[in-house]
Symmetry: C2
Subunit: 316 residues, 2 copies
């Protein structure tokens, strides 16, 4: 289903941001508004990171393949991941649920509650209202008064190395297995299905990347090539990638274009002790995959052009 | 259209709150979670007030009667009003828009931008996604580190006087005029229509009420009797009302049961200099309408039982 922009989401967001800037002016110094994984705002003397994303039954989830509890989990997880992509930790959430009277609210809140406990992010408020199709909109807020400050998409410089928090493609492979597995001889691989249905935002990895000196960061929600493209575009650089780690059970195309992985991709000056920082925190080692280059038109992986393929599930 | 709770919204919210409390425990001291107009939370050393409400085309607005720009305005206004009902000021907003490709996004954001400018509350982020029906979910955040602290629904005591920020019923009368006026001989009263389509949250009045010593407060969104009932229930008191001010052009039933007024109702100890505080700020004088009594079963207006009628538009 196409979104309200008729499939031109990114252009629509630019137009909306321009329209809103006319109404209320540009962000004050130190604030980040529309166009990054999360906003950074000063409220009441403090600095916050805050993000909101909505999931829609039939657009972001097929309830014939995954449960409404999975949808609840994912609705919180994708927002926690947006703050992780700034190197920050979500500490409180609000949830608005719009849906028909047939909605399995207990199941939905089972998933939301499980995610809330898993991510240490209590749900403190929200709203219930009627609608013909289930829409779950979540807002998360976290401490933005961190040092170094929250990491945007726009700070990468030529020469920075590109890192990823882990292998990619498991979620896309899981979705394919779910689709094929309905009625098949063997149950689909639970690890791949879990990667799709119950994604784990890389919160500790985001904090470690920020504290080790990340210059730009994003989470892989729409697909690696598309999401890295946002970082390159915002930073005004190109990229030369040597390789891309592919999750066990996934295909290279899943890793390159599959969405819903929620691994983090970031840039760091060379010779940054990234691996030491991750090891000291007991985290899985991150993978260095290439480097930023000055020519913004240069986007290659193992010598071949890096396509912009992605799931675009927001507009699918 | 009924909501996901099948028309039992308030019972569903209680059940959800209990379920979430099992997952993440009760609020820490000084925080207010589910069940008030807004949540009060400590994030990053600061204190925030934060609220989220969703408006749905066909549930909260009939786009044959009011414009999509009005829907945008109202989506922000009702959330700003939720913070006003705590005596607080919304300073930043996030908006998720889910809707079909036919959505008039420019019109919607015209209304959102106008409200954003009018209320001094920039829209700093959000999301666009596809859905069969337009759902606009807004979150607002404001400074909660105010003295006296944010006003909940639960602090009213027997003997407190009950105040309202202005006459009620204009929005209900405006909706009736819109419904009747389509094809009628004269255009509907613009002042009443404006009260319905472009509500003005009583932000300065909320701050004045809090600073003058309000013990409990709510905004009139679902209907005066129903909303005052939430304050009485949370505070464990009853009420004896002498009268209720009715907006020009509205009927007593509009004032008592009509929703969408967004006037504030609050309680204060007797002999509080409420009127002086409002006068000094250049605000319209508030109206004293009665007093709280110890018997929670006592709910009367001018000697007659106060019905619990309300628009219940969330579940209508």
């Amino acid at each position: 289903m196409e979104d309200p922009s008729g499939g031109r989401e990114f252009a629509a967001i630019d137009r909306i941001a321009a329209r809103l800037a006319v109404a209320t002016g540009p962000p004050p110094s130190g604030e980040v508004w529309i166009g990054d994984d999360a906003a950074v705002v000063r409220v009441g003397g403090g600095v916050l990171v805050i993000a909101a994303d909505a999931l829609v039954d039939g657009v972001h989830a097929d309830l014939a393949l995954t449960s409404v509890a999975d949808l609840g989990w994912k609705a919180l997880a994708v927002n926690v991941s947006d703050l992780a992509a700034m190197g920050c930790v979500a500490s409180r959430a609000l949830v608005t649920v719009s849906g028909p009277p047939t909605t399995d609210l207990d199941g939905l809140y089972d998933g939301l509650a499980a995610a809330s406990a898993a991510f240490g992010c209590p749900i403190v408020g929200g709203d219930l209202t009627g609608a013909p199709r289930l829409v779950v909109s979540v807002t998360v807020v976290g401490d933005g008064a961190v040092v170094p400050p929250p990491v945007t998409r726009g700070g990468a410089r030529a020469g920075d190395e590109v890192w990823v928090s882990g292998p990619l493609g498991a979620a896309a492979a899981g979705l394919r297995a779910l689709r094929a597995g309905a009625g098949g001889p063997t149950p689909p691989d639970a690890r791949l299905v879990g990667a799709y249905a119950r994604p784990e935002p890389r919160v500790a990895e985001g904090v470690a990347a920020r504290e080790s000196g990340a210059t730009a960061m994003i989470d892989v929600s729409d697909g690696f090539a598309l999401d890295l493209g946002h970082v390159l575009g915002a930073s005004g650089v190109g990229v030369e990638l040597d390789h891309l780690p592919v999750a066990a059970g996934a295909r290279p195309g899943d890793a390159l274009g599959g969405g819903d992985d929620y691994e983090l991709v970031w840039c760091c000056p060379p010779d940054t002790a990234v691996e030491d920082g991750f090891r000291a925190r007991g985290l899985r080692p991150p993978v260095r995959i290439g480097r930023c280059v000055a020519d913004p038109g240069q986007r290659v992986l193992a010598g071949a052009p890096l396509g912009a393929a992605g799931w675009r599930h927001d507009i699918g």
